[in-house]
Amino acid sequence: MEGTLNLAAYGLLFLGVVTSLICLWQPNKILSKISLATVALAFVCLTLALIARSVASGRLPFATMYEFTFLFAWGILFFFLILRTKFVSDLLTSLVALLAIIIISYGSTLPSDIRPLMPALQSFWLELHVITAIVAYGAFGLSCCLGILYMVKEKVGDQGMGKSLPELSKLDNMLHWSVALGFPFMTLVLITGAVWAEEVWGRWWSWDPKETWALITWFIYAGYLHARKTYGLQGKKAAMMAIIGFAAVLFTLFGVSLLLPGAHSYV
């Protein structure tokens, strides 16, 4: 059940990328609506897949890296669909769908078997940790896509694919909005993770690479918020920072497990 739903989500996202790319090349209102609908449907499929997994395992799907990659993609799509009420852009649709595909593809290579929760993972704090991470990383993912849109808009102006994009200042504001939303949740990610580690091992902070990179991520976005507030940082530099911030998110989630030695053995 879960597998079929995930496959459907994958196929729909793929369709979403193809249709929105066609729209970029040959603007078409109907096709644009279709591409949005496929992404929305993919979101529904992912939601159902996560529910199916929860039912099959008798717990929330908050324990393994496999589960988190799907939640991560879910969060990004969720914020994309919220932003959709503000403006519609084929470029944003294709970027978000592509990002979701990449994340899900990586997740599919991870062990997916449903196992009962080991004692260390049976923690309310861990659940809060994961929930807040979905929000924070979803919002940051979106701000990264907005940063890319900003760069594109700045380059092409009102020509070509720039036509369907909002004004630069609006993009910049939305980017700020998504970072300002993600930041308090990122703070909660760090706090709940620290409390969990303290309750389970008695070490609230141990500088393992995953923790360290989560902290670095937090610093980058704190830098963005303060530079914007005090120096009015805006425009291309701000867009660049949103992209770098999200690169740090991706590195925390995937790069650290793949490249760096660490003690974050569960996820």
């Binding site: 004692p119 049976q122 609230w204 760096l260």
Partner: protein, 347 residues
Amino acid sequence: MTDTNSKFTRPGGKGVIHLLSSMKMGLFLLLLIGAASSLGSLIPQGEEAFFYKNHYGELMGAFILLLSLNKLYGSWWFILLGAVFATNILLCSVKRLKTLNSIRAVGSVVLHLSILVIFIGSLVSGLIGQSEYLELGTGESIDLATKGFPGYSLHVKDFKIEYYDNLEPKQYISKLTLSGEKNEVNSEISVNHPLKAEGFTIYQQSYGWKAKGYIDVGGKEQQFDLVNGADVIVKENIKMRVIYVPDFDPSSGDLRSRSPLPNNPHLACAILQNDQLLAVEVIPEGATKELAGYPVTFSSYRYYTGLEVKQDPGVKIIYTGFVLIVIGFLIRYLAPLKTAQKSEVGL
């Protein structure tokens, strides 16, 4: 707040204070601490000195050791960076105290000062926090003074494991009694549910088996009470190693247990002379078998529990900081706003 560059160039103490309380400094420190932290995640931490020389070459290795990049997060310069950052946040917040003109601004100051609280908590934790790992068999006690916690003793009444249907562990549970000079605390702890009392936090960390018995050495009974896998010295050059098998499979004779449950407890014993195997026997509970001329009796078995015993007043401070950060955020972002202030806060 506003920075004007002229302030940096002002001579004397005032200039330093201005610099230290500036946002420029804050951003610079964020960048510096972030960069240093990432370096610590790239260079393996806490290895022996020769590791770095082998791995990075003589020169780079010496450089790493000179700057304590092998123990980066505990090095004096990293802690100093943290302290300067904390000072920066403090000064910057103090400066704003004079101009607090909305509830949201109060929230912002609370939010910033709570970072300071966390920093202080981690210093307290590092300076006076103590933590010791110990293993105790069920029924055993320990005087915690021997571990650096005078005035207290700890007794393990029982230990048990709960399993899922597929025999994967669901929870590890120890029943403990912590006795002080005045009080006695009885408590059941498990993973994620430590005991918190009398300034102690005691964590369920590990477990294993212990086996009891005796070995007859030329008519003299020599008792043993060993952790699974440990050795007992029988004579010079001769030792016995014990492996406890909770669910022995007699048909295969395999020393791997069929299940984690003590359904058919046996003790596998090996007599070794200068690490050469002389004899092996698998002894059922209560039985005696002879190994290389030594009769060995396996009397009983029980669990031991691995506990982390901690006293750390810093944690309370850190948790207070966490609570304050959350409160600060809530006020900073959600407190009601007079319309006139909206543009001022920039929302």
